[in-house]
Structure formats: structure tokens, C-alpha cells
Symmetry: C4
Subunit: 196 residues, 4 copies
């Protein structure tokens, strides 16, 4: 089976997730600056989550580009990733509305941690399906960036209870780390094209 | 007519259904654990419905893959399926918010029953369009799994009023039964490829 | 320019319209039959509008299938149709929540009237672009069904104020009239295939 | 990398943005004309923003049509545009609900200004990727219309505080200016086809 419909469905889900998050930013009833100022934490949490979901879409795009076929296991691993991403509007809204307090900040990290793990699982399932000699398998290698991210989330979650600002900084650093699209896959694709 | 635009539209509707369900999980106004704990039944009903809608997407994906052409009857049978699926966020929200009480649990089962019947109708309409000698027709055969599911819903709906927990368990068992994608269609497709 | 991306965008918008209408059916806070009974008018208006939007999608699908190229005028005529369809969730919700009273029932008809007119405009713009000798131009002919629908809406809107039930019946009859996909276009397409 | 999945994702996001804006038009609880009249400013702001988002989709459609390949920078420049567009439902709702008062009208202009700048950035990034000799590069030229729009937003934002009606008129004029799709790109494409 080809990847096209899997991509179309994932695009749809991710596009909806990234867009409905803005609905958590409730339109204030008064035309005052004070009403806007109150929304600043909600806005900042929206920006952060927009970046995260955009990163997932970009990496998903690169990953699918390097995937030649899907099977049932890939479909379910992909659904599993979409499930954790679908919770991002909820955890974002809770963190923003409560001004980045300890518990919501920790829950946000747990959400991102599960999303990262489910992305890692998706990559493994695809690599197994493509074969260990595929360009993708070689490109992903030990997946250092993925592992570092997971470790950083594991630090950020407990840190939320001690010093929420540390957790927020970690979330920001991980996002910046990933804004650069996955060079490894791009390199592998180029290798594949040249090999043909 | 080809299936591509039917798939694109169905993907869109299913992607929206699976994502707006999360909006029923209202963001609590306080950053307390108690606020999260209150949401546990809503979360569990969300997980269950996410799995069901994902199952429908997976099976729809397999079914369309084995479909070579659509006509007006197929378009309407597909719309009929999407109609029942579109009610899932409502019945899920009602069941979750009322902690799986009898009536909402029964209505949820009625919703799933109609979705199952409309999927069965869609398969029949496509098989009639493809011809009784098509690989799809042979693959679907007597559709044992579909019939068993319908029977189980017919048990679960009245059971909701006697012992809601039984109904919940039945919904869970049916979901697990279907998480495995439809091997019959996969087999038929393989047969079709080999026959060429 | 080809029709593919126009179709993709229209599919997205129509899929969202048909799905967010269900959000007007607010989840009741109590697990009582009475709470469901109160929602019956909202549910009925949802079913009616689901049918109408599905009809528009089906006809749009057939129309685009018979369209070989788009230009700026086609893009804008299509946007104009999507605009009126995008108001359907609002007019549906208003009619349902107010139990099909006179004014909301009339506004619903006005909405459907504008949608019908904008669909008619879209067809004309496409026919002009395709050429008067195209199969589509011949197939659409005088567009009797479209004109009858517009006339019926023009009767239904004032009728809403005298006897809302008459307006409701007219809306139902028009929907039934259109559930059958446009045979004329199907015929023309067949002619086109045979002519090749 | 080809543009197809970038288009699919952008179509999804833009389709959702244009459709969820209608959710800001809350269904009134009474079937009175007065309830509708109160919604007139919200409706007008919806019409304006529908036109703006439709313009962006049309121009995006033309731009992508003239784009042969995307890289990481294009993906991110596109995400940046989608981010500013995703805020349009919020700023539209705030302006409509507060009857086009000074501050919300200014914020709406700021939103449109950032969207215009991010579109301009996207065009530059694509032109750099396509090469200065590409048809697109020649077609865009100095991008007079884009620059005029930015200047007009820069006038409209402060004007909102002096005389909101001036700002509203400017927004209307810019929309009308853009309803005509970008002739330059169409011309370049024609040139490209003839050159082949």
C-alpha cells in the first residue's frame, strides 16, 4: 500500500489540531487593552504549541517522503502519534489559562513526551517495514536528537514542580532544536536519488 | 468515476470527527489535580471513540483500496456512514460527561450499531457495483466479524440499562476485535496482484 | 489550471461545514431522556442540513468531474458558493434551537436560496470557460431542476411566516429532488468517453 | 521535494480557518429579528475576513502552481504565513463583537499586516529557491501591489484610533485590490508554457 492516503489523513488531523488550538483563545467581550493583556499567557502557549505541531508536520512530511510502503502496523503507529498530538490543544489550553503553573506545565511536558515516544515508535515500525538496508534505516541511525528530546522532557516534567520557568525553557530549547528539518533524512533521500 | 475524491472527502470528515471530539474535554479553570481527575471519564470515552473512529478510517482505507469505481449509490452509502460517524462526538461527550450512566451508554451503543450497519451497507453497495466475481466480493464472503459486532451491539444496548459495565466491556471487546485491519481484503488484494 | 486543488480546498471546506454543524447539538448535562427529547428539533435540522450539504458535495463532485480547466472567475464563483454554504451551520442552529419558528425557518430558506443561486452562477461560469460546444454545456441545458428549486425556495421563504410547516415540507421535497445525482452530467460524461 | 503535500496541508489549514470563523457568530437563543440585527457587525467582519482568507488561498494557489520545488526554508516560511492567518478568526471575532471599535480594528490591521509581510517573505524564499532567472522571479518583479498593501495597513492601524471608519475603508479597498488573482503569475505561467 502506498503512503498517499495516510499522508492525506494525517495532514487533515494535524491541520485541524493546529487550527482549533486558536479557539482556546476566547474572544474577549470588551475592546480594552487590559482584556488583551490577560490573554498573553494563552497566546504564548499557542505560539509554542503551533511551533511543536508544525515541527511534527515537517518531520512527518520528511519521514513519509522516505517511506515507500505502509502496512497495518504503520497505520496504527501513525494513529497512535495522532492521538497524542490531538491532546495538545487541551494541554496547551490548560497551561495557558493557568499562566504556566506547575501542574499544567508538567502535564504539557507529559503530552509532548508521549508524542515524542510515539513518533519514535512510528519511525521504528517504518524502518522495520522498509528493511534494515533501506536508506531510511541508515539515515535514522541511532536517532540522537530524538533521544536527547525524550531525556529533556523527562527532566522538564519534574522540574515543573520545582521551578516552572526551567520547564518552559526546556520546551523552548527542544522546539528550537527541531525547527531545523531532519537533515539525516534529506541526506538519505539525496543518496537514494543519486543511487538510482 | 474513480475513488480518489470520495477518499479525500471521507478523510476530511473523519479527520475532523476524530479531532473535534477532544473539544468535549473542556479545559478546566483551575490548575488542580482534582480538576483533572473529574475529567477521567470524559478522557476514557475519548480514547474509546478515537479507537473506533480510527478503526473505521483504517477499514475504509482498505475497502476503498479494493474498490475500482464508484457510482451514485456508493456516494450516498458513504455519506450515510459519515452521518452516523458524525454523531460520535455527541454521543461520546454525553456518555463521558455523565460518567457512563445507563442511558448515555445505551445511546452510544445505538450510534455504533447504526455506524456498523451503514458500513455493512456500504460494503454491499460496493460489492454489487464491482461484481460478484470481483476479488472484493470473494474476500468479504459472509463477513462474520461484521455480523458478530452487530450482534454484540444488540446485546450491549439493553445491557446498558441492567449493568452499564457489561456494555462498556462489550464496546471495548469489539474495538479490540477490529484493531486488526481486515486481513480478508489484504489477502484479496494480494490475490489480485498475483492474478495480474 | 487543473481542478485538483480547487476540489481539495472545496472538499476541506465542505467536510468541515458538514461536521461542525454537529457542534450546535450541545451535549446535555444530565443523563435523562427528557434532555434528549429537547434536542429533537436540533437533531432534525441537523439531518436536513447534512442532506443538503451532502447534495452540494455530490453535485460539486459531478460538476468538477466534467470540468477540464479553471480560471480566476471559476475560483471566485466557487468561493462564493462556499461562502453561502459556510453559513448553513449558523442558520441550521438558529432554526433548530428555536423549534422551526417563522423567522429562523425563513432565514434558512434565504440561505439555501443564495447557495442555489451561487451554484447556478458557478455552473454558468464553468460552462462559459469550457465553451458552448462542450459536453457539459449541452448536458446542463436549461437546468430545469435548478430553476424549479429556486422557485420553490422563493415560495418557501414567505410561506415560513404564514405556515412554517409548509416551508419545512418544501425544504424536504427539494432535498429529496436532489438526492439523486445529476443524471445529465453523468450522461454527458458517458457521451464524452464514447466520443473519444 | 514536490509541492503537493505542502499544498494539501495549507489547503486544510486555510479551509479550517475560513470555516471556524463562522463559529464566532453565536446562534442567538431567540427567534427575533432584533437578535439578528445585533449580529450585523459580526456578520460584516465575517464577510471581510472570508474575502481576505479566500484571497490568500487564491494567491497561494497561484504561487504554488508556479513553484517547482520546496525545501526546509519554504516549509517554514509557509508555516509562518499559516500562523498569522490562524489568528484571523480571533481578531475578526474581537472586531465584530465590539462593533469595529478603535483597538480591535487596529489589532485586525496588525494581523493583516503580519500576514502580508509573511506572504511577501514566502514569495522571496521561493524565488530564491527557484532561481533569479525563473519565470516566477521575473513575474513577481518589484511586487508593487504587495508593497502598496503593506503601506496601506501601516496607515490603517494608527487611523483606527483617530477615525475607525477610515481603517475599515482601507481594509475594504485592499481586499478589492486583491480579489483579482495575480495576473503577473498567470502571465509568467503562460510564458513558461509557450517557452516549452
Amino acid at each position: 500500500m502506498r503512503t498517499s492516503r495516510l499522508e492525506a489523513f494525517s495532514d487533515g488531523v494535524i491541520a485541524i489540531i493546529i487550527t482549533i488550538m486558536v479557539l482556546e483563545m476566547k474572544v474577549p467581550h470588551e475592546p480594552k487593552l487590559g482584556a488583551l493583556v490577560k490573554l498573553v499567557p494563552v497566546f504564548l502557549s499557542y505560539v509554542l504549541s503551533f511551533a511543536y505541531v508544525a515541527i511534527y508536520w515537517n518531520n512527518h512530511h520528511h519521514l513519509m517522503h522516505a517511506t515507500s510502503r505502509v502496512n497495518g502496523a504503520v497505520l496504527w503507529a501513525n494513529m497512535h502519534l495522532l492521538f497524542w498530538l490531538s491532546l495538545v490543544p487541551f494541554t496547551t489550553g490548560w497551561m495557558g489559562e493557568n499562566h504556566f503553573e506547575a501542574l499544567p506545565t508538567a502535564l504539557y511536558g507529559v503530552n509532548l513526551l508521549f508524542a515524542a515516544v510515539s513518533y519514535w515508535v512510528l519511525v521504528r515500525v517504518i524502518v522495520r517495514n522498509e528493511g534494515q538496508d533501506s536508506h531510511l534505516a541508515k539515515a535514522m541511525g541511532r536517532d540522537l536528537k530524538g533521544m536527547v528530546s525524550v531525556l529533556m522532557y523527562l527532566v522538564a516534567v519534574p522540574a515543573s514542580f520545582l521551578e516552572p520557568v526551567v520547564a518552559r525553557l526546556i520546551y523552548l530549547v527542544i522546539a528550537l532544536l527541531w525547527v531545523v528539518p531532519d537533515k539525516r533524512i534529506e541526506r538519505a533521500l539525496r543518496g537514494a536519488s543519486e543511487g538510482r
